[in-house]
């Protein structure tokens, strides 16, 4: 699936990020092409979420540069909202808005942020709900859904903004195996349509199956990156080996 | 009687009174009570002491309308001695001591130049008063006045100055007294309206039902006050113009 010679759409150059004394990212460089699917794996606390949060400017970086589809993210005059229209993000903890129904959750941002036409948005939202196989839940509140269902709504909500890049942060970590399956299927569908995807996951098999490139992070650095086959079958770095060894 | 025995036991007489009622009773900044009624209380203390054969101390218990009957009934004080107007309804609840010791009617104070000829002229108009004054309800009910009642005299006075009401109502003799003693000219722009007093209510000392001895002793004391002119003298001392009631009583008991 890898599109060789394609234009890079997300470029990180030597990105550093500290929380107070703690240096969390110690020089991260990566480059993701249009329509590429990239997985980031690594132990807990190694900075995976922080990378994603830096990319859509939820967390400011201390040094280095990030460029997303031509937008310089660490430009002081950055229009954050313009950036976030192009970069969708789905969180581990779903973060649906509990006071709105499923359909409203999906339609809110396109209507209120992009000021799009209600009829269009509604049509698109319904189509997305169908895609995540939740059409019959459109009037339910998030509190009435199971975890996997909520996660799928969160994905649909992000997609309804028509982003160019989608980021998924451990979206299956708190789910049971069956539901994990449902969510992964949804992500696979999204990826199959040619959207650029960056995903942080603990599901090694899934990462292997879906990615064009796998990055392994440890203690704020990218230790190794490779195509999935070589990465899993023939890891180079000792830390990667130790990690893959522990993961059942 | 029980209460008199208690007074004797403790060598102390406790009196419920409104301590915020100048110049009848008021506290100075050291907390000492002063005023016309305080003078009368002192005299009463001496006379009661003779009755029980002991030197008595006097203790003032500050009261509010909400608690004075309770305090009397439950023995927190031996009597109520304040500007308590005698009404038939109240007579059912407490024992007033006869003869009543004083009387007052309502007086109106306004800015100079306000012409009020009869009580009908104030119908529907706002009049400032003290909360707990016995004039409030009759004025409202019988004369259609809008009473605007505050907790302290300063507030009542301030409200009249601010024009929140066209007049203030209070005991007529109190109003006279304060104009007579107004050395600083605080009230130079104000005057007392000359209206017929629609009622002059007698003030009574009140005790609990059932102690005839105490009642008798107090009755003797008030009788003596009228006969000797003690009430009239004390009132004059505090700047009051004694009411007609006092002179009537003096005549009545002098003859006996």
């Amino acid at each position: 699936m890898k599109a060789e010679n394609a234009t890079p759409q997300v470029i990180l150059k030597d990105v550093r990020k500290s929380y107070g004394q703690l240096e969390v990212l110690k020089g991260i460089s990566m480059s993701v092409n249009r329509s590429e699917i990239v997985s980031i794996i690594g132990p807990s606390g190694s900075g995976k979420s922080t990378i994603l949060r830096c990319i859509n400017a939820l967390a400011p970086v201390n040094a280095g540069s990030i460029n997303v589809a031509g937008i310089e993210v660490n430009d002081p005059k950055l229009d954050e909202r313009a950036l976030r229209r192009r970069v969708g993000m789905v969180f581990q903890s779903y973060n649906l808005f509990p006071h709105r129904t499923v359909l409203q959750n999906i339609m809110m941002a396109p209507l209120q942020v992009l000021k799009q036409n209600r009829a269009d948005v509604e049509q698109r939202a319904r189509a997305l709900l169908a895609k995540v196989r939740l059409s019959e839940k459109e009037n339910a509140y998030p509190g009435e859904l199971s975890g996997g269902q909520q996660q799928r709504v969160a994905i649909a909500r992000s997609l309804c903004m028509n982003p160019e890049v989608m980021m998924f942060d451990e979206v299956t970590a708190a789910l049971d195996p069956e539901t994990v399956k449902e969510v992964l299927t949804t992500i696979r569908d999204v990826a199959a349509e040619g959207m650029t995807c960056i995903l942080v996951t603990h599901e090694m098999r899934f990462a292997r199956e879906i990615s064009d490139t796998v990055y392994f992070t440890d203690q704020g650095r990218i230790v190794e990156s490779n195509n999935p086959k070589d990465f899993f079958e023939n890891p180079q770095d000792d830390r990667t080996k130790a990690f893959l060894d522990k993961v059942l | 009687g029980e209460v008199l025995d208690k007074i004797k036991d403790r060598a102390r007489v406790t009196v419920c009174t409104n301590v915020n009622n100048p110049p009848n009773v008021f506290l100075d900044s050291s907390g000492t009570a002063k005023g016309m009624q305080v003078d009368l209380m002192e005299d009463m203390k001496g006379q009661l002491g003779k009755v029980v054969g002991k030197d008595l101390a006097i203790e003032l218990v500050p009261t509010l309308p909400a608690n004075r009957v309770e305090f009397l009934d439950r023995g927190k004080c031996d009597m109520i001695f304040t500007s308590l107007t005698v009404t038939p309804e109240r007579q059912k609840l407490i024992q007033f001591v006869e003869p009543y010791y004083y009387a007052a009617g309502p007086g109106l104070q306004t800015k100079k130049g306000v012409e009020l000829k009869s009580w009908d002229d104030v119908r529907g108009k706002p009049i400032c008063s003290n909360q707990g004054s016995s004039w409030n309800v009759p004025l409202e009910r019988d004369y259609g006045v809008t009473i605007v009642a505050f907790q302290t005299q300063q507030e009542v006075d301030q409200s009249l100055r601010d024009g929140r009401c066209i007049a203030l109502v209070s005991d007529d003799s109190y109003l006279q007294a304060r104009f007579l003693t107004d050395k600083d000219g605080v009230w130079k722009d104000f005057e007392i309206q000359k209206l017929p007093a629609f009622s002059e209510g007698p003030w009574g000392l009140a005790v609990k039902f059932g102690d005839a001895d105490l009642q008798k002793a107090l009755s003797d004391i008030t009788t003596e006050w009228h006969a000797s002119g003690k009430v009239i003298d004390t009132a004059k001392k505090w700047g009051f113009t004694p009411p007609k009631f006092s002179y009537d009583m003096q005549d009545k008991y002098k003859k006996q």
């Binding site: 942020v113 | 309804e89 929140r164």
Partner: protein, 248 residues
């Protein structure tokens, strides 16, 4: 009505229990009017407090620091001093100085009646409390929810308006309900500046008849009744705003 009046008059003559408000038409009218005034004070005070509280809550989020300090000073001052003393300050301080409640030459009604002063006093005092409650509510909205809004491209104020405030308001409802009950009880301070609400009238009546115990019982029932009404209203609002999965 007639029968009730007769019964209580009879009761008085037989037993000495003097519920004069229940048979004396003039007093009954005044007392009912007193209850009406108390309710009206509570309603207006509540409205004022909510408006001031919400306004302060917003002003505190503004980035201009002196404005924030000013609002904080207001809140701290009004939360930490007796409401009665505040009322005196408004009424005899500002009111006297600016001649706000003076009758005109020809008896024109004053600019602000004592009633309006109480409404202003209640609003200012409880507005400070509402501001605090709402702030706590906003802080209780999970950070992840706020981030989700940001990631969807919501600006600061849009996120506040569409997502944070609706949630904060629901979270704050129980505390706001308590506050409301407190306002109902505080209407009694109106008696200090001669607004003839229920307690003021009761006071007048027991001064006249010496029936303090009876009137205290009447006052107790009156307030329990009013609180009950307001509790019902809060319940209704809670039910109306209820969202499945939030709270019980």
């Amino acid at each position: 009505m007639e029968l009730i009046a007769q019964f209580f008059e009879e009761l008085y003559h037989r037993t000495g229990w003097n519920f004069s408000v229940l048979y004396n038409a003039w007093e009954a009218k005044k007392y009912v009017n007193g209850i009406y005034i108390a309710l009206e004070l509570a309603l207006w005070g509540l409205l004022g407090a909510m408006i001031i509280g919400a306004l302060c809550c917003f002003l505190r989020l503004v980035r201009f620091a002196p404005l924030r300090w000013l609002v904080t000073a207001y809140i701290e001052f009004f939360r930490n001093t007796p409401g009665l003393a505040q009322l005196y300050f408004l009424f005899f301080g500002l009111g006297s100085y600016f001649q706000l409640s003076t009758y005109g030459q020809n008896g024109e009604p004053p600019f602000l009646s004592p009633f309006k002063f109480v409404v202003i006093g209640l609003s200012l005092q409880y507005g400070a409390f509402v501001a605090e409650i709402l702030r706590a509510g906003i802080e209780a909205v999970p950070k992840t929810t706020k981030e989700a809004a940001e990631a969807l491209g919501y600006g600061r104020w849009a996120a506040l308006y569409h997502i944070v405030m609706p949630l904060a308001f629901r979270i704050s409802l129980p505390a706001l309900g308590n506050n409301m009950a407190q306002i109902v009880k505080s209407t009694a301070m109106a008696y200090a500046i001669a607004v003839p609400e229920a307690l003021y009238v009761a006071h007048e009546i027991w001064t006249e008849h010496f029936n303090v115990i009876e009137m205290m019982n009447v006052v107790l029932l009156t307030y329990l009744g009013m609180m009950w009404i307001f509790t019902l209203i809060v319940r209704l609002i809670e039910r109306w705003l209820h969202v499945p999965g939030m709270g019980r």
